[in-house]
Amino acid sequence: MRLLFYFLAVAVPVLTLAGCSAAPLPTTSPGPTAASVSGNLTVFAASSLTDAFNGVKIALAAKYPKLTITYSFAGSSTLRTQLEQGATADVFASANTQQMDLAVQSGVVASGESALFAANRLVVVVPTSDTKVQTLADLAKPGLKLVLAQKDVPVGGYARDAISKMDASGQYGAGFSQKVLANLVSEESNVKQALAKVALGEADAAIVYSTDVTKNMASQVTVLAIPDAQNVVAAYPIALVKAGKQPELAQRFISYVLSPEGQAILKRYGFMEVPQ
């Protein structure tokens, strides 16, 4: 995994910048022609990948008309639990390495198989109609309604890390972390639900991935950026599921996501390249 990580960290940005569309990644087998790639591939992916992976699906459908991709989007930990309990899937894409490592530990994914393919950062979202939160410091205002993903969901953990980092920076006043967490009114099971509560105007603020603020959402929520030093960069690993029935198709999907073409799609949906 580490090797792949370094390879990606160096090669992917270079290849992407070069705009090279037919990158010969080592994972890409010279394999069959487009027409012979057929079958039904099941991909378990973190909720935050919903839009980007649907973009990948469209691109792959144009490339391989006989390939059907079925996604199951949910919190990474839910997906990992489902896989451990025998759910069938070919590919697992997690929003953090922790859930991938747990999947490796339980034998769902072979060790050393996963590759980091994207990175994401956090933002604070507030309802467009709501003026209670103008700056990050306002998150500590008493009586505010803050919604986060629960702490076992990757983004929920990252959000709490970011709040601690903000607190440690000393820019937002004493006891910032404590005051912010005292405003927590709901721990949602996935990040899209947290965002929805803000879009509906029921909550005053939520911490979500920057990629969650899609075009549809942009009109309903206002984004407050979290400074890089206080932000948490989430790295997304992807891997073949051991029990998957179609390792070849799965590998093709993973290779595509890692290819410059796939990386360009992810970038279009707001993901960052995996940092070095």
């Binding site: 839910t78 919604v147 629960q150 099971s189």
Partner: protein
């Protein structure tokens, strides 16, 4: 019973029925058995059962469902009585609509409640004016439970009241006994089994309420995280806790079912109808 046993050999429908019954028992029984075995097989079953998250969820479920039941009994009983005793067109329409929450997906109920009573809901501004904000509160959990479980009680209570001959009530009142007293001393005791089984069903539904709650009330330990929500949250982090809570809810459901069965057995007039 005797008749069916005698024909069992020759009637093919009964044979298919026997097969279907076995299939059904296995289909429903195996997952529940598996749940029980897995939960009890965990070393920390009792530790999980008494973990902070589990206890808080249990307490909240007990409290909210008790309040919900109080609301349902106090308001649902006279409501059901009216439906049983008066047949006007508007009441007939209401009677039909009462069952809507039973067939409505709970998550739809939750979204609908947000649209009505949420901060940006139709009545949100009016409620805010009164200083009331419902979403993310325990009150919202109770409202969600009442919404989805009241119909179970109202429907059963109405049937119970319909089973009490109106002649008796009329006679009682001609004897100079007040309508209140007649209701308490005559109608209520006669329809008791229906009321009780309806209440048990409603309580079971309130305890298991999930979709409307997570939509309308959110998910926060000790405030809005009832047992079903705690199970979902625990699935993300601690399977043992999720299993322990699931077993507890299953045990409660079984107890309620047994109670309903006992109550209806103790009421011969119920079965005759």
């Amino acid at each position: 019973m005797v008749r069916s046993r005698r024909q069992g050999q020759s009637n093919p429908i009964l044979m298919v029925g026997g097969f279907a019954t076995a299939l059904f028992v296995l289909f429903v029984g195996l997952p529940l058995l598996a749940l029980l075995l897995r939960a009890l097989g965990n070393d920390g079953f009792f530790a999980s059962l008494t973990s902070d998250v589990a206890l808080q969820a249990l307490k909240l479920s007990a409290f909210t469902s008790a309040v919900s039941m109080a609301v349902i009994l106090v308001l649902g009983t006279p409501f059901a009585y009216l439906l049983a005793r008066r047949q006007t067109l508007p009441l007939h329409i209401v009677d039909t609509l009462v069952e809507l929450p039973i067939v409505l997906p709970p998550v739809v109920a939750g979204v609908a409640m947000l649209m009505a009573f949420g901060r940006n809901g139709i009545f949100g501004a009016a409620l805010a004016h009164l200083g009331i904000a419902l979403p993310f509160t325990t009150a919202a959990v109770i409202l969600a439970q009442v919404f989805v479980s009241a119909p179970f009680y109202v429907r059963a209570a109405k049937l119970g009241f319909l089973g009490v001959d109106q002649e008796y009530e009329a006679i009682s009142q001609t004897l100079g006994i007040s309508p209140w007293r007649t209701f308490w001393r005559l109608t209520l005791p006669l329809s008791w089994p229906s009321l009780l089984s309806g209440a048990a069903l409603a309580w079971a539904r309130a305890l298991s309420e999930f979709g409307a709650t997570i939509m309308f009330a959110g998910n926060f330990t000790g405030r809005t995280q009832t047992m079903p929500l705690a199970i979902l949250s625990a699935m993300e982090s601690n399977l043992a806790t999720a299993l322990a809570l699931a077993v507890m809810l299953m045990a409660l459901s079984v107890l309620l079912l047994i109670a309903i069965a006992l109550v209806s057995r103790a009421a011969p007039w119920e079965q005759r109808r």
